[in-house]
Symmetry: C2
Subunit: 130 residues, 2 copies
Amino acid sequence: MIKYSRQREAIRKQISNRGDHPTAETLYAELKGDFPNLSFATVYRNLNQLVEQGEIAKINVGGATRFDYDPLPHSHFFCRKCGAVIDMPENDSAMLLAAHEGFSGIIEACTSNFYGICPECAAEAKKRSN
Amino acid sequence: MIKYSRQREAIRKQISNRGDHPTAETLYAELKGDFPNLSFATVYRNLNQLVEQGEIAKINVGGATRFDYDPLPHSHFFCRKCGAVIDMPENDSAMLLAAHEGFSGIIEACTSNFYGICPECAAEAKKRSN
DNA sequence: TTTGCTGCAAATTCTTTGCACTGGG
DNA sequence: CCCAGTGCAAAGAATTTGCAGCAAA
């Protein structure tokens, strides 16, 4: 049976409020203010529990582990300039599934990773060149 | 200047011969036969060097680091039954790029991750149900 | 009261680094 | 001869685990 805990609730809320892909360390640092005695163990235990419950997802960004507020499989964009990880608006998996219909295995899900320059950095570069 | 070394050559050959996505530990274990004094440090150093030289690639499979004999960005299929990581024959990035033309950033590369049952496991399951 | 959760510290796992020595160029 | 590469051991970084005390239910 899973009991309520203020720490877990704070972690859940923090990830959800941020709406991005923080590392365990980032979350720990941010919550340390509200819970001075917070330990990494608690953060990790709760993050793993939330992942198991399917409330959040664990993703991997260039070797580092990050947590995603959206547990459903979806695509990400990785900016090579600022390092940002952005959710991609659409994940046309139907199209991808069709594209790989020659594959004899069973494709259940598909996510894509896009690499390049994010909208912000692109705009920044454009502004400078003016 | 990069010098020849039998260890590095063996590592390079091993990855290439396997044609799959081994971990550093797997490679170490396999090469330990030919090089009884081989150390993990040598394996890691050489793997990292080969990655830097663009001869192989580092990929991440469920939190674990693996090495890919094919350094060019391409898609992978992850079997949830046997854990196999299979290269996907085609990576129609042009299609994906087109699909995301509404995105205001600059997409330079794209790889997809497919999840499901690999051809072998699928065939196995089918055979059993007969 | 029972059992999960927390904090702390120690333990793990994976990978890198320092150093003296070997070996390729 | 010179410096990259090696092996070994120690150092690091990230994450997990053991345990005693605390707090939900």
